[in-house]
Symmetry: C2
Subunit: 305 residues, 2 copies
């Protein structure tokens, strides 16, 4: 195949559609990934990424994003960034220097400001009302049925790989809380000589297993992407259940240098995949006894985002 | 052996001495690691950790710390924390919940305040003058001969492993810049079933290779700690030199479940090691053609910290 791209959740569909056209026109994996993520970041209907994301417990929306170039291994990330809808652009900008590649909090805000990223409002009326409702009638965080990080992996016609993530994080999180999405090796990783990977779910759980890098190493050692992703998540989930009696939601996607993909998950999960031979298509991944199974989406899959 | 502990750089010696006594008395790896790191954090002579650490380019001292419990895989970390000398204590506190384990910036400051960590001054007269001098006569960051993160690994008499790091980060860093030290898998990792590891050096370089987790996987797959650490750093350094023409400073220490250690480095590096059969001793590690060699420190090693 000439190129390939995959994004987490149904919400990535429209962005993947646009990005696929770019990859077909021989634009870079970087351009494609940014296009795909921008679409989710600006969409007011998605409440876990960028504009109209859900806020922390103080009612402030802060975003995390990560970006890795598989050719150079340059990493860029921002954590707890405010007032910028396209956190992924700031993360990419951070990746372009020798030092200061990961910026958090007020330092990230200042950097964004100095680099021309507009001082934007991320709160929509909808998310504001949702927040007020939570204050009045608190539900435990564990029950939050979050839609999560948008993670995108792409392989362009030059066989360059990019991995990137963007999220507004856990609803009602503590101020300053960052999840796995801006943590290289946990939320994302890319290496042209092996493959790329990214994660979505409960960040605190994902980071305990350093899961994006774990799946990269599996592929390096010869596991095909599907086996790698499936076993990575199944084994780690089993470990957590043995340790704590439960495991929080984890979904992982990966891609090798040939654009072949893998998906591992411990909850029902949806993703969008496209390559030069297949139109963007939404698939469903579900945890089974010893791994993950993947099938096409059907009309009865209304319970998934 | 009954217990073992290792710390980065000569500066860890006194703390390792105190922590060794605790391990001998059957205190936990957690207590020992905190003791060892506290000593470095409060020592005014060390300018890369805690009190008297060097500031960012705005003249503000911000600290990063990471903590991981090898038994539970619980992670705690703080990034760009201000006004707390013992950042490691805040990181450990963060590790104790299900969510919100990694806090950065103002959120980290608020958490520290709410949890009784005093609002402390970290700037000494010495570091203030050093900062003013840099402002008047700017030297490039790459030339900064930093002393770095204090990283400590311990295995107690119950065979529990802890990995922890603490640093004031790169001198003259951008506000909000965090390095590898608070990034699980990059700056630190611990898993009782395999071993533990931590890194010191230029954080941006270390994170590109997710090096702490990389060395853990090597040990999981049967490499002894010394081979794992040595090859991990040598291979990654070679990759970076091939990619960019140079590699920034990286030093890595690791320990398996038996308390046996490994050291990999691409610059001259010192560390302190002790176990129940050997008094705390400072060693020198140096990069050789295909790996790292280790020897006892001598009187002529005055160029190392």
């Amino acid at each position: 195949m000439k190129w390939a791209i995959i994004g987490t959740w149904k919400m990535s569909y429209q962005g993947i559609l646009k990005a696929s056209q770019q990859l077909e026109q021989n634009l870079s994996a970087s351009d494609a990934v940014l296009t795909a993520i921008h679409d989710v970041e600006e969409n007011p209907n998605f409440h876990s990424v960028g504009y109209s994301g859900l806020p922390n417990k103080e009612g402030i929306i802060t975003c995390d994003a990560g970006y890795m170039d598989g050719t150079t291994l340059q990493v860029g990330a921002v954590g707890a960034l405010e007032h910028v809808i396209h956190a992924i652009d700031v993360a990419k900008k951070c990746s372009e220097t020798r030092f200061n590649n990961v910026l958090v909090g007020q330092g990230a805000n200042i950097f964004a400001q100095k680099n021309g990223f507009a001082n934007e409002n991320l709160m929509s009326e909808e998310t504001y009302q949702y927040y007020l409702k939570q204050l009045q009638n608190p539900k435990p965080l564990a029950a939050y049925n979050g839609h999560d990080t948008v993670g995108v992996l792409a392989c362009d016609q030059k066989k360059h790989l990019i991995a990137a993530t963007s999220t507004s994080g856990l609803f009602m999180k503590e101020p300053g809380r960052i999840g796995d999405s801006p943590l290289v090796g946990c939320g994302f990783y890319a290496d042209d000589t092996i493959g790329c990977a990214c994660a979505t779910g409960v960040g605190e759980e994902i980071m305990r297993g350093c899961l994006s890098y774990d799946v990269i190493i599996r592929m390096k050692q010869g596991q095909d992407p599907q086996t790698a992703a499936s076993q990575c998540v199944a084994e780690f989930s089993k470990r957590m259940i043995k340790q704590k009696g439960y495991v929080d939601a984890i979904s992982l996607i990966c891609m090798n240098q040939e654009g072949e993909i893998g998906v591992g998950t411990n909850v029902k999960f949806a993703f969008t995949y496209a390559n030069d031979q297949h139109m963007p298509t939404i698939y469903i991944a579900e945890p089974k006894e010893n791994g993950t199974s993947v099938r096409a989406i059907t009309d009865s899959d209304i319970d998934i985002d």
